[in-house]
């Protein structure tokens, strides 16, 4: 199952066991992506707690 990261267009090769609502991490931009559809596979950026980073 191939789906694209909506953030950076990276193609993700999702395992067949992938379930709806599962959250996966984009290997490139590391966005957290929610699986919102299996056929066809579709990813959206998962809502996330704002991560504090930096000074």
């Amino acid at each position: 199952m191939i789906a694209a990261c909506p953030e950076c267009e990276r193609k993700l090769d999702l395992p067949d066991s992938t379930r709806l609502s599962e959250v996966v991490e984009c290997p490139d931009c590391r966005s957290e992506l929610e699986v919102v559809s299996i056929e066809p596979p579709l990813l959206v950026i998962a809502p996330e707690a704002e991560e504090d980073w930096g000074e």
Partner: protein, 341 residues
């Protein structure tokens, strides 16, 4: 002698305020607030103060009346706190980002939250002696600029004020780990933060707003966390206007800083420390400012360095207080820094 209280005394800026005020001949440090550490000795948190004081932290509710109240809490929290604390002292000095910007819309754009006390913004004078000395003499609401902002402003001000540069400037800031405060988290453990060159603001940093407001330039700023506990250095690049050469640049810096007690122009042709470096400024209230001109490219590099907790925060607050009180400006701020270090 006046009586001073510090809110946020368990933090890094707060601790530096405690050090400076304990050593200040005209100030009695009367209270230090901590919500977590009420009743605990302040020298348990700040071991450098051992032997200097027996003071313990108190709760906000225990605050009394003081001549001056210094606020060293985080932004966001401060705009909530300040209105209810204002009655405790005639003079308030805030070190957070909440009262530095005059325009609440700019605040919201840069801090990502609406300002909850926009009506107070106009009351504040910048705690920036080099820019606002006259206004500080009578000021009872003082907002000390950010540490990297102070460095960049002091680097760029002479060039901008004398119209030697075009308005687009870039600022590359490097900062030590104390710049992000005392709170532990995964990103600032020693093992992760050690030896870092962490570009944590690759596409714009909050201090752009302060630099723009104070210098009238259009800054693009990055910030990198480097291996250091204290210290900020900024490298600012600008395009020189037609006909501006190194002599003009040097003169502008001299004119602006000749009489400043805490700004030194450091732009040497020889020696090891030719341009400003923060390490020899640790603990001191100096901001060193320097420059290098590349005439054929019409470019100028302006460099500034300071200790983020002193000239970048607590020291600037004390210098502002000295001005406000009519005391000699260097009072309590004489430590010159160390070499080697």
């Amino acid at each position: 002698m006046i009586r001073a209280a510090v809110l946020g005394g368990a933090g890094y800026i707060g601790g530096e305020l405690l050090r400076l005020l304990l050593g200040h001949p005209e100030v009695e440090l009367a209270a230090a607030v901590s919500s977590r550490l009420g009743g605990k000795r302040i020298d348990s948190t700040h071991p450098n103060l051992r032997g200097l004081t027996d003071l313990t932290f108190c709760a906000e509710e225990e605050l009394e009346q003081y001549d001056v109240l210094l606020l060293a809490a985080g932004h966001g929290a401060t705009m909530e706190l300040l209105p209810r604390l204002a009655g405790h002292a005639k003079t308030l000095i805030d070190l957070s980002g909440d009262f530095r910007l005059t325009d609440p819309a700019v605040y919201e754009a840069y801090y990502g939250l609406p300002h909850t006390a926009p009506e107070l913004l106009g009351d504040f004078v910048p705690g920036a002696p080099e820019l606002a000395r006259e206004a500080l003499r009578g000021a009872d609401r003082i907002a000390v600029p950010g540490c990297m902002a102070t460095a960049a402003i002091l680097a760029l001000r002479p060039l901008a004020a004398e119209q030697l540069i075009e308005p687009d400037v870039t600022v590359d800031a490097r900062t030590g780990s104390s710049g992000s405060g005392a709170t532990a988290g995964p990103a600032n453990t020693h093992a992760e933060r050690s030896g870092a060159m962490r570009v944590f603001a690759p596409a714009g940093h909050r201090h752009e707003a302060e630099i723009a407001q104070s210098c009238g330039v259009r800054p693009t700023m990055t910030a990198t966390g480097v291996e250091a506990v204290r210290g900020v250095q900024v490298l600012c690049r600008a395009t020189l206007r037609d006909g501006v050469d190194e002599t003009a640049v040097r003169r502008a810096y001299r004119r602006h800083y000749a009489d400043e007690p805490f700004v030194r122009v450091v732009a040497q042709r020889r020696g090891m420390y030719r341009l400003p470096e923060p390490k020899v400024l640790s603990g001191s209230n100096y901001c060193d400012v320097g420059f290098a001109v590349r005439p054929e490219a019409r470019q100028v590099l302006a460099v500034a360095a300071l200790d983020n907790l002193v000239k970048g925060g607590a020291g600037n607050a004390v210098q502002s207080l000295n001005i406000r009180m009519g005391w000699p400006e260097r009072l309590g701020l004489e430590f010159p820094g160390l070499h080697p270090v």
